[in-house]
Structures are given as structure tokens and as C-alpha cells.
């Protein structure tokens, strides 16, 4: 799996309205002013197409920071192995 900084940059590039460098692993992505239900879908879509892991809304709701997301995906990938 890619490292957390690459994960953060790649996720950031999915958010059209977020300028480069604004997201860090410790950013609470829900605090992004533009955050709405579409962003939640963008995150699910990004993780599905990058890692073939299809998160549920409930799983997503338990995360706050980019690092939480990264760790959720890493655990899901480990479960798959």
C-alpha cells in the first residue's frame, strides 16, 4: 500500500475545491468548509478505485482524519489477504 503522504496527496487531488497542500494526515476532513455528502461519495469512490475496497457509509462515518481513513483502508486490505 502507498505511504500516508502519497495517500493524502492523492485524496486531496480528488477534491476539486481544495487547494494543494491543505490536507495533512492529521486534518479532520469533515472540517473542510466545502465538505458535504458529495465529498463522502468522492472518498468512497477514490478508495474503491485505488484499492478495490468498497467502504460503507457507516464505516466512513467512524473516521475523522485522513490518517483514520488510511488506517481503515490498510486494515481492510490486511483482512483481504
Amino acid at each position: 500500500m502507498m505511504d500516508i503522504d502519497t495517500f493524502t496527496r492523492n485524496l486531496e487531488s480528488e477534491f476539486e475545491e481544495v487547494e494543494t497542500g491543505r490536507l495533512t494526515p492529521l486534518t479532520n476532513y469533515r472540517d473542510i468548509p466545502e465538505f458535504n455528502s458529495m465529498y463522502a461519495l468522492i472518498i468512497i469512490a477514490f478508495i474503491d478505485s485505488e484499492f478495490d475496497v468498497l467502504l460503507t457509509g457507516e464505516e466512513l462515518r467512524k473516521t475523522n482524519t485522513v490518517k483514520d481513513l488510511y488506517e481503515l483502508v490498510r486494515n481492510k486490505l490486511q483482512e483481504k489477504e
Binding site: 455528502s37 458529495m38 463522502a40 461519495l41 468512497i44 469512490a45 468498497l54
Partner: protein, 337 residues
């Protein structure tokens, strides 16, 4: 057994064009730009309030039949796909038959399907042609989703659009040859996308009309769980693609163009990425038209043809998927285009 061909595909969009600037003036929380970023749609089209769908269909289908010089007396079957029936009974296809003045020898039936309706209708048309039960089929899709969307649901208003399409299917070796079909259903998806208070399950009453957001609705209200629809789409469509390829004994590289139901920008983008389809091999007109439900695939095919994205000797995969959940798909060959 005669093979089935779609000889003609054409469409009409509803008369009223609605831009993002117009919508932004109604919703102060959004700008025209943010509406585009949220929906991927620049403009959508709507019928007038109170429109009866068979009127919308009949007016446009008549014009399209005239445009293509189709003798309506030759039509011996009408398939009418809509989620906006005129009545619970009689069937809307019968009403449309009368409005179009088709032959009394023509059979008709309704197909109450949404996003998978076009490919389902083709599946049925192919069976009617191959069994010689019909020789010239008029397949009409007409949907008016704007009429069941509340003003309180901007995300739905941004996405959906009203349109009519016609397809003529016969054994004449002209146009798109229909390949083998696959189909499927997951009825557990009933609540992910539906029009509530539109039938016996939840009849409308006085209280309903007075609930916030229902005041301007006359029939029912569309509800969509965007996350559930997204998860269904990205989970099922890649499997459908493989299944259709296998059934038609084709490989991925044999497909020259993928025409998926134009569900939403995020679904189309995710499918393209997940299936690793090159941009030029996937058709996308969502920006210009919106999601026209059962008309989305024929509108896309018709526009792709006029833009020379469809030419002779191609294999085109068409995949309908959505409300239900329901899906169906096939491959067209254009050797006789």
C-alpha cells in the same frame, strides 16, 4: 431465426432548458460553478408542470416518425418504457398507441423500468423479432423525473432531466445488430431510489401534501440514497461488463465504445477508472443533457453517432443499471450501419 437490428435511434429533449445560473438563483447556498462541481451537469431539461407523459411522448414520437419517414401503419408492436404512467389502468402503452394512431393489429405493452429500461426493452424486442411475433417494433422511452422532484431536493434537481427516445427494431439488416443479452435484479435495492407516495404502498393523503417540500408535487416524491446507488453501481457494473463479454465471446479490447447509463459524474468516472477504460472509449454526455433515466442510453447513442464516435464495424457495449436494483446489457455490432 431472424436476427434483430435497431434500424433507427433518435430522441427529443423536453422544451425547458434549465441552466446552473438559473438554479443558483433559486438556491443561495450554491453557485453555478458549485452546482456543476456537485452534479457534473451544465444544463438539464424539463417539461411544463402538470405534463402527462403520454402527451409528451406522443408529440415527440410523431415528429421523430415523420422526420425518419417511418410508415406508422407498418409498426406491429409498441413497447413503451416509462416510470410516469398515466393511470394504474389502462396501460400507458395503450393510451400512447391511441395518441399515435397506430394500427389496430399492433400489440403493446408497458415496461415500468428506469435506468435499465432501455436495455430491457431491447432484450424483449429482440425476443419478439427472433420468434417472429413482431416484424417492426416501435420502442419508446419517455421519462419526466423532474415532475417528482421536490424543490427541497436540490441535488436531484441538478441531476435529472426529461426526454423521449424512439428506436425501431426489425429484422432488416440495417443499423445496430443486437448481440446476446445479460440481465439481473437485486430487489433488496427497493428503497435506495424510489418515488414514495406514488402507489398503493404509500397512498397520498391530505397530511402528505402539507409536508415540507411536497406542496408543489402532484404525484409522489423521488428519494435517492446516493451512497447506496453508488455502491451498487461500482460493485455490479464491472461484473456485468465481464458477463456480457463472455456471453458474446468477445474480449475487452474488442469493444470500441462503452455506452453506460448516464447515472452521475462520480459513477461514470469511477467505472472508467475501475474498468481502466480509455477516455475515448467511454461515452459521456451527462454535462450537456443530465440524467434522462430510460432515455439516457438512446440519447447517448444518437449523439455519439452524430459526432462520428460511432462508425461502421464497431462493437458497442451498452449497459443499463439502476433503480430496483435492476440491470441489463448487450453488445451492438455496427457492420450494417
Amino acid at each position: 431465426m431472424p436476427a434483430a437490428y435497431i434500424n433507427i435511434i433518435d430522441f427529443s429533449l423536453a422544451r425547458n432548458e434549465i441552466t446552473n445560473v438559473q438554479l443558483a438563483s433559486e438556491y443561495p447556498d450554491y453557485t453555478a460553478d458549485s452546482i456543476y462541481k456537485n452534479s457534473g451537469v451544465l444544463k438539464r431539461f424539463s417539461v411544463d408542470k402538470g405534463c402527462v407523459c403520454t402527451d409528451f411522448a406522443a408529440e415527440n414520437v410523431s415528429e421523430l416518425l415523420n422526420k425518419h419517414k417511418i410508415d406508422k401503419h407498418k409498426i406491429d408492436f409498441l413497447i413503451y418504457c416509462t416510470e410516469a404512467p398515466d393511470y394504474i389502468a389502462p396501460a400507458s402503452s395503450v393510451v400512447l398507441h391511441g395518441k399515435l394512431g397506430l394500427s389496430k393489429e399492433a400489440g403493446t405493452f408497458d415496461l415500468q423500468f428506469g435506468c435499465s429500461g432501455y436495455t430491457y426493452g431491447l432484450l424483449l424486442a429482440k425476443a419478439l423479432i427472433e420468434s417472429s411475433a413482431a416484424s417492426t417494433i416501435l420502442f419508446v422511452t419517455a421519462d419526466i423525473p423532474t415532475q417528482v422532484i421536490s424543490e427541497k431536493d436540490p441535488h436531484l434537481r441538478f441531476l435529472f432531466s426529461d426526454a423521449v427516445s424512439i428506436s425501431i427494431i426489425s429484422s432488416e439488416k440495417k443499423g445496430y445488430k443486437l448481440g446476446e443479452f445479460i440481465k439481473g435484479t437485486d430487489g433488496k435495492g427497493e428503497t435506495a431510489l424510489r418515488v414514495i407516495n406514488s402507489g398503493f404502498n404509500s397512498p397520498r393523503n391530505e397530511e402528505w401534501y402539507h409536508q415540507e417540500g411536497n406542496e408543489n408535487l402532484s404525484v409522489g416524491r423521488m428519494e435517492m440514497d446516493g451512497e447506496a446507488v453508488f455502491r451498487f453501481s461500482v460493485d455490479v457494473v464491472p461484473k456485468i461488463v465481464e458477463e456480457v463479454l463472455n456471453k458474446n465471446k468477445l474480449k475487452r479490447e474488442d469493444i470500441d465504445l462503452f455506452v453506460f447509463h448516464q447515472a452521475s459524474r462520480i459513477i461514470l468516472k469511477s467505472l472508467q477508472r475501475k474498468l481502466k477504460i480509455e477516455e475515448e472509449k467511454i461515452y459521456n454526455n451527462l454535462e450537456r443533457v443530465g440524467n434522462t433515466v430510460s432515455a439516457s442510453i438512446p440519447v447517448a447513442l444518437s449523439q455519439a453517432l452524430s459526432e462520428n464516435r460511432i462508425t461502421k464495424n464497431m462493437n458497442i457495449m451498452v449497459v443499463g443499471f439502476g433503480i430496483g436494483f435492476s440491470w441489463s446489457a448487450t453488445v451492438f455490432n455496427t457492420t450494417n450501419l
